[in-house]
């Protein structure tokens, strides 16, 4: 029994290692992915292309514009013209945002009347638009406060010192500077591992089916469990090696801290990889061709990443989809990854995630073993 499994493991390693393309795809793309994600995946909004239409040409309007310009959030170009010009710029994709200060802005402020500022946003990317709008709000409020204080100072210097203000005292835990990369790099480790393991295993049985070795294996006395273990163990080891490489990039290059225990991270990773292996092997036993396996695994990986909380918070999803996320092993693994890398949590808090992944792995691996029949019907 052991000799059979061992020989299977050796054979799989030889096959993976001898193929230069597989060897390359095990090392280079994951590193590229983690680097690209570390830099590119960010919610920060900077340098939003913004056109300012200052039709007031007053000291006040210039003051407001300079506040926008110096914030760093906007890349401002001064424009002149009317609403049609705004349409044109947005349609061409030259700007995301237009701020229009109408004539009489300063006059209204000086007369203590409400002055309005027109803001036109390209809402295609609703996230960027919302964040930019938030910054605009902040800057105008600040401007308004400063203006009021200034005014109060002039008419009642004593009273102005007694205007109370609520100050925010921000203490972000686990990610002091609120850097997006600290959020995304551990998540990327999970999604890269999932994609790698899927592509390796989804093809592994169906390929043997196509080259005819599966039929040959069926006429040997091998047992389905031995076969599945022989297919699981090598890829489990390869995936752990993969985890090591990309974690090193995360820690050394992106300076993601590893605050929790390495043993816990390893244990969680093993369970997660086993689950993905199970689903990959299941797809492989259900497919007749490698193309089929590829399409089906794509239809698993894509929603699994979307529903995992990799980029979109699960708590914001509709309840039905939130339920669906419990079927997603990446959901549990991302919690474990972020908890061990950033928070340094222990098993007593993470055990529900471990249970989730263990159940998933057990179900998919036994389904794959049950599906692997030694008959050709």
């Amino acid at each position: 029994m052991l000799a059979r499994i061992w020989q299977f493991v050796v054979k799989e390693f030889f096959q993976v290692w001898r193929d230069p393309r597989t060897r390359f795809s095990l090392i280079v793309p994951p590193i590229i992915q983690i680097i690209v994600f570390g830099y590119a995946a960010t919610f920060d909004v900077h340098n939003v292309p913004t056109a300012v239409f200052d039709q007031d040409h007053s000291q006040e309007s210039r003051e407001l514009i300079s506040r926008f310009a110096s914030s760093g959030y906007f890349k401002i170009t001064q424009e002149s013209g009317n609403g049609a010009r705004i349409n044109d710029l947005i349609d061409r994709g030259r700007i995301t945002l237009a701020i229009r200060i109408l004539p009489g802005f300063a006059e209204e402020i000086r007369k203590r009347e409400d002055a309005s500022l027109q803001v036109v946003l390209d809402g295609t990317d609703s996230n960027t638009a919302l964040i930019a709008l938030g910054y605009i709000n902040q800057i105008t409020q600040r401007y308004q406060q400063d203006y009021q204080r200034d005014y109060l100072n002039r008419i009642a210097p004593l009273a102005s010192q007694r205007v109370p203000q609520v100050m925010l005292d921000e203490r972000p835990w686990f990610n002091k500077n609120l850097e997006d990369k600290l959020f995304f790099v551990p998540g990327t480790i999970g999604s890269v591992l999932m994609v790698m393991v899927m592509t390796l295993t989804a093809f592994s049985i169906v390929r043997e089916h196509e080259i005819g070795t599966l039929e040959q294996i069926m006429v040997t006395p091998i047992r389905p469990l031995e076969f599945i273990l022989g297919k699981t163990i090598p890829y489990l080891m390869i995936a752990l090696f993969e985890l090591l490489i990309i974690s090193l990039v995360g820690v050394m290059w992106f300076e993601v801290p590893l605050r929790g225990s390495i043993a816990l991270l390893l244990a969680g990773s093993l369970l997660f990889i086993a689950g993905v292996l199970g689903i990959g092997l299941l797809i492989s036993t259900l497919s007749n061709t490698q193309q089929q396996a590829m399409v089906v695994s794509f239809f698993f990986v894509q929603p699994a990443i979307t529903l995992s909380g990799f980029g979109f918070p699960i708590s914001s999803m509709p309840p039905v989809l939130q339920w669906l996320t419990y079927l997603d092993p990446l959901r549990y693994y991302l919690v474990v990854l972020r908890a061990t890398f950033l928070k340094g949590l222990d098993f007593d808090l993470l055990w529900p995630q471990f249970v989730g992944m263990a159940v998933f792995a057990l179900l998919t691996l036994s389904a794959a073993a049950a599906r692997f029949r030694k008959t050709l019907d």
Binding site: A3, R4, K11, D19, G212, T213, Q216, V219, L376, D377
Partner: protein, 312 residues
Amino acid sequence: MPDESWAVVVEGLVKDFPPVRAVDHLSFRVSAGEIFGLVGPDGAGKTTTMRVLAGVMAPDEGSAVVCGCDVVRDPEAVKQHISYMPQRFGLYEDLTVSENIRFYADLFGISRRQREQAAARLLAACGMSEFSGRLAGKLSGGMKQKLGLVCALIHTPRLLLLDEPTNGVDPLSRREFWAMLYELAAQGVTIVNSTAYLDEAERCHRVALMHRGRLLFCDQPQRLKQRLPGAVIAVVSPIAARLREELAHADGVHSVLLIGDALHLFVDDAARRIPQISRALDAKGLFYDEVVRITPTIEDLFVNAVTAQEPH
């Protein structure tokens, strides 16, 4: 009780692939040490029969006992004793010759010493000793087939199931391959071999002719020839194909088969029909080299049997 003198006992085997009945109440027996040929065109049900015997396909009806094991009830038990080589043996092209051998040997739980001895002997027997380090993908078609046979024999099976083993193999390799089969049979290994080539069937000790899942008949190749009702006459002519039309409906001709530049006519009585056919061709001014009586080949036999079963 399983009878040890029979390596294979098949009775009333049926396998449906709706809407087709691939194997239709098939019964035959193969005795130990025999080279048995399952002969028939594509779609005759040979591969399905082989797969049932190998224990990788469950029949819908009937029984099959292989090496004393009931493959219908317990398909796993038989696997230690047999070896099945499909049309294309499943080799790992990215593993070397010796790695392939080792893989299959370990799946059968062969000890290292046994494996090394058997591998050396088998590789030497098929002239492949110096290729043991070569990747299987870099071997020629004939060598791949021989490597397949080596892998199939590494656990010294009692029964070897070969499904069209010489398909697409060059004539020289084919001869070597058969030499190995005779050698094995001499050592007591039973061989069930399927083929669509009738010339290959004549090398078997006994053949079963199959057509559309049914057994037409089963006997020694020579005996089958004797069984043919009437006789076969050959009309040799460079325009044999054109003569076919002329002769198909002549008196006393059952059926006509075109083989190379000759027409094989199945007739009731050779002595009477040869002059009759010569005269008919002369009368129409159709050219021919000769009209002679010949010993029927299995191919003749097969075609005659098939046409006899299905009168058009």
